[in-house]
């Protein structure tokens, strides 16, 4: 069997805790951590405050830092406050950048370039059009065009279009506008008239990457029937858009949706697979780890390096670092820094990207919670243990987000995940092989496809049966304050556990 996340060798239980510096001493790394967290907090608050409040508090923090310049703690507080305000400003600056408002509900003609991979659904295609030029104005917002399956369009085409531009409508409490805005898309248009101007207005590199990806997916599509091929696309590339809704609902009801979304998980599985394969050849662990990281980077590029994939890649690498390298230096800082970086690049993910919130919460769970609960699961077979531990930790850490946004939680998720996740790595392996062999000879790919077919059928059947169980999922919604209280509680529990671990560690005389 391939080993997957997290690596079953949890010999360094509680290691995350031990790395922390002494309490109450402001080491450099602590200041760094505070800085990162303040920025994230600032972006979070940015949605709820206005600019005059920001200006006043900025002055306040400057004053605090100046007056108390002799005390390091006070200066840090002052700077942290300023960093927060910078975060809030950064959020507001990107949020209000919408220059398509003037055209809402108007029929306009314009020119633009298809700047992303066409998002092919079962019955339509979505095109993201950027570098817009409407009525002699160059716009920075992007436009989402909904077009029929045929004719087909490609990344990098410059198109002339005429369409009625509309504000994205919200439905069922789901803000489509906010969802799109984090991709920089501020308007939608249905059934536009389109004329292709030229084919090469995108980046040459990206166009070729997408071509390669398309060929890879095509190899899978030729070898596997639906819905298996779409499912495989979801597993390998996170391209879940063409999976029938019925099956997506079943995944949701069994708490297994994450395996078909592009997440740190899929990526880590691939990386773990690569690392494992290399170790079989007798390569040293550290070296194979580096190659696994290289594999992640390769994967990120192969799948078109969209922001979701980049994020998943970062998380996958973080998880590898946190779980697979012998000693852990400053896991807290690495996590906080990468979160800060992602939020800095696109502040809107913090508020509007549920995927970001879920994967980060799950990552925190894997890093902090798994070592805590591991001692209680010694009785489980070693091959199943990592799956259950990972699922439980992720579940505990993502629960409030799931309840807050979807109002649904799967009660059978832990069992289903253990049952299903076991088959995922080999299925992905054979699927990957299918895609690669297809470049050589499609009949060869067929053999690998046959093996993955059985595994995929098993997963699909298990999920289908699971979703039919009574009480598979219950509906329950919580409000924002409960979410905050829940996470504060979790933080306290993790901290207390860490302190305990540290005391045990210190009390043992023969540690070193």
């Amino acid at each position: 069997m391939l080993t997957t996340t997290p690596d079953p060798s949890y010999s360094r239980r509680g290691a995350t805790c031990l790395e922390e510096g002494e309490d109450m001493v402001l080491t450099k790394s602590k200041v760094f951590l505070i800085g990162c967290l303040s920025f994230i907090l600032g972006v979070f608050i940015g949605r709820f405050i206005n600019s005059s409040l920001m200006a006043i508090s900025a002055m306040f923090f400057v004053a605090v830092a100046t007056i108390g310049w002799q005390s390091k703690v006070v200066v840090v507080i002052g700077i942290a406050g300023l960093v927060s305000i910078f975060g809030a400003w950064r959020f507001q600056a990107t949020y209000s950048q919408n220059d398509l408002t003037q055209f809402y509900n108007q029929k306009v003609a314009g020119i633009g370039v298809i700047v992303g991979e066409p998002d092919k659904r079962l019955d339509k295609i979505y095109l993201t059009v950027g570098q817009l030029e409407i009525q002699n104005q160059n716009l920075s917002s992007k436009l989402l065009l909904s077009v029929p399956l045929f004719p087909e369009y490609e990344y990098g085409q410059r198109i002339r279009f005429s369409a009625k531009i509309q504000e994205p409508k919200d439905f069922d409490g789901f803000s489509y506008k906010n969802y799109l805005s984090r991709f920089g898309i501020d308007a939608v248009a249905y059934q536009p008239k389109i004329q292709i101007e030229n084919n090469n207005s995108g980046s040459w590199f990206m166009a070729h990457l997408l071509k390669l990806k398309e060929r890879f997916v095509q190899n899978i599509n030729l070898s596997l029937p639906e819905p298996h091929s779409s499912f495989m696309g979801g597993l390998l590339l996170g391209a879940k858009r063409s999976i029938p809704q019925k099956i997506l609902d079943q995944f949701a009801a069994t708490g297994t949706s994450h395996i078909v979304a592009i997440s740190g998980y899929n990526i880590t599985v691939i990386a773990a697979g690569v690392a494992w394969a290399l170790q079989q050849t007798g390569m040293r662990k550290r070296f194979s780890f580096l190659l696994a990281v290289a594999a992640i980077l390769g994967f990120v590029f192969m799948t078109g390096a969209s922001s979701a994939v980049v994020r998943a890649g970062v998380m996958g690498i973080l998880l590898l670092v946190a779980l697979n390298i012998g000693r852990i230096y400053d896991v807290n800082n690495a996590l906080a820094f990468s979160a800060m970086l992602m939020v800095f690049i696109n502040p809107q993910v913090l508020h509007f990207d549920i995927g970001f919130q879920l994967s980060f919460a799950a990552l925190l769970g894997l890093v902090y919670f798994t070592p805590m609960i591991e001692p209680y699961f010694w009785w489980m077979p070693a091959i199943l243990r990592p799956f259950l531990l990972a699922t439980l930790s992720a579940q505990v850490f993502t629960l409030p987000i799931l309840l807050f946004y979807f109002g649904q939680v799967s009660l059978i998720a832990p069992i289903m995940n253990v049952l299903v996740l076991l088959a995922v790595p080999p299925a992905m392996f054979f699927g990957f092989l299918t895609g690669l062999l297809g470049f050589v000879w499609i009949k060869l790919a067929f053999l690998a496809a046959a093996a993955s077919w059985i595994l995929l059928t098993y997963i699909l059947k298990a999920v289908e049966l699971g979703s039919r169980l009574p009480f598979a999922a219950v509906n329950f919604t919580i409000n924002f304050y409960v979410v905050v209280i829940y996470y504060l509680g979790l933080t306290l529990i993790v901290r207390r556990h860490c302190q305990k671990e540290r005391e045990i560690w210190k009390s043992k005389p023969n540690n070193f």
Binding site: L149, P151, L222, E226, S230, A450, W453, I454
Partner: protein
């Protein structure tokens, strides 16, 4: 040495065994069960019918408006079967041709039976391009033609008349209409043709059938009372999408069918409708 053997067993032999099992299961399932299967696939607002003859030939009639037909085909075909013996396109409107294009891309299709009517849409152009690229054998349908689907199954074509076919307003009236016969069991397939065409066919052929695919998704302009009087179906299958914008199927057609004592199946309510036949009787299976 021993470890190596173990590794080999684990990582090479086991997967290969798995492959072997698949091939075996697939082959086993491929064996025809000597029943004809007719599946009216649930593809939303559009037509897609899958037929497996009693000797195992597989035919797809129309592909529906989206790629949804692929998942349905995956379920109707034996596992890992990547070929179809024939694809029939009744007429090139979007709700019939769109799914066919994806099918032509992913499956090896041996023959295509269609009218040759061109509507100059992007999907139609892509369809023609794929036929050319794959060197698919094409057959143009015309009145009076008999297509042998296997030794005991025939498809008699009642419409369209003959080449060249004119489009009047829409392509609907160029639809292939025909009767599928296996032993004593007869199934009338209608595409989207309206009563204008029905009236022309009425005097020419014996239309009596056990199962009727209701024309044009149950639109009131098809399936006239006279038509039903000739067809006298026991069962009727209507392929429609749930809460579609055309309000198909119409009350009129449903009433006509009910008053003639026909049992109605609808893809919007029943999902995919599956029939089997041994050549004597026709059975709906759940």
């Amino acid at each position: 040495m021993e470890i190596q053997t173990k590794q080999l067993l684990k990582y090479l032999i086991a997967p290969l065994l798995l492959v072997a099992t698949v091939v075996w299961v697939a082959n086993f399932q491929r064996q025809p069960d000597f029943l004809m299967h007719i599946d009216f696939l649930d593809v939303g607002q559009g037509d897609a019918i899958f037929i497996q003859t009693y000797l195992g030939n597989q035919i797809l009639i129309d592909g529906g408006p989206s790629s949804a037909v692929l998942a349905e085909l995956g379920e109707s075909l034996p596992p890992m079967d990547r070929s179809l013996d024939m694809v029939i396109l009744t007429h090139p409107d979007a709700d019939h041709i769109t799914g066919i294009v994806e099918v032509l891309r992913r499956y090896k299709v041996k023959k295509v039976l269609f009218t040759g009517v061109k509507v100059d849409t992007a999907a139609d152009r892509e369809f023609e391009r794929l036929l050319e690229q794959n060197h698919t054998e094409t057959i143009y349908a015309h009145q009076g033609q008999r297509v042998w689907l296997d030794q005991a199954t025939v498809f008699d074509i009642y419409w369209p008349r003959s080449q060249p076919i004119e489009i009047i307003k829409t392509a609907n009236d160029t639809s292939i209409i025909g009767k599928l016969s296996f032993g004593k069991v007869q199934i009338l397939l209608t595409g989207d043709a309206t009563s204008r065409v029905e009236d022309e066919i009425l005097p020419l052929f014996n239309l009596d059938a056990d199962l009727l695919k209701v024309g044009h998704h149950g639109s009131k302009s098809s399936t006239s009372a006279e038509w039903l009087k000739e067809v006298t179906p026991d069962y009727a299958a209507i392929q429609v999408g749930a809460s579609n914008t055309y309000s198909h199927p119409t009350r009129e057609v449903l009433d006509r069918l009910t008053s003639s004592g026909t049992r109605i199946f609808r893809t919007d309510l029943d999902g995919t409708i599956r029939f089997t036949s041994d050549g004597v009787t026709l059975k709906e299976i759940d």
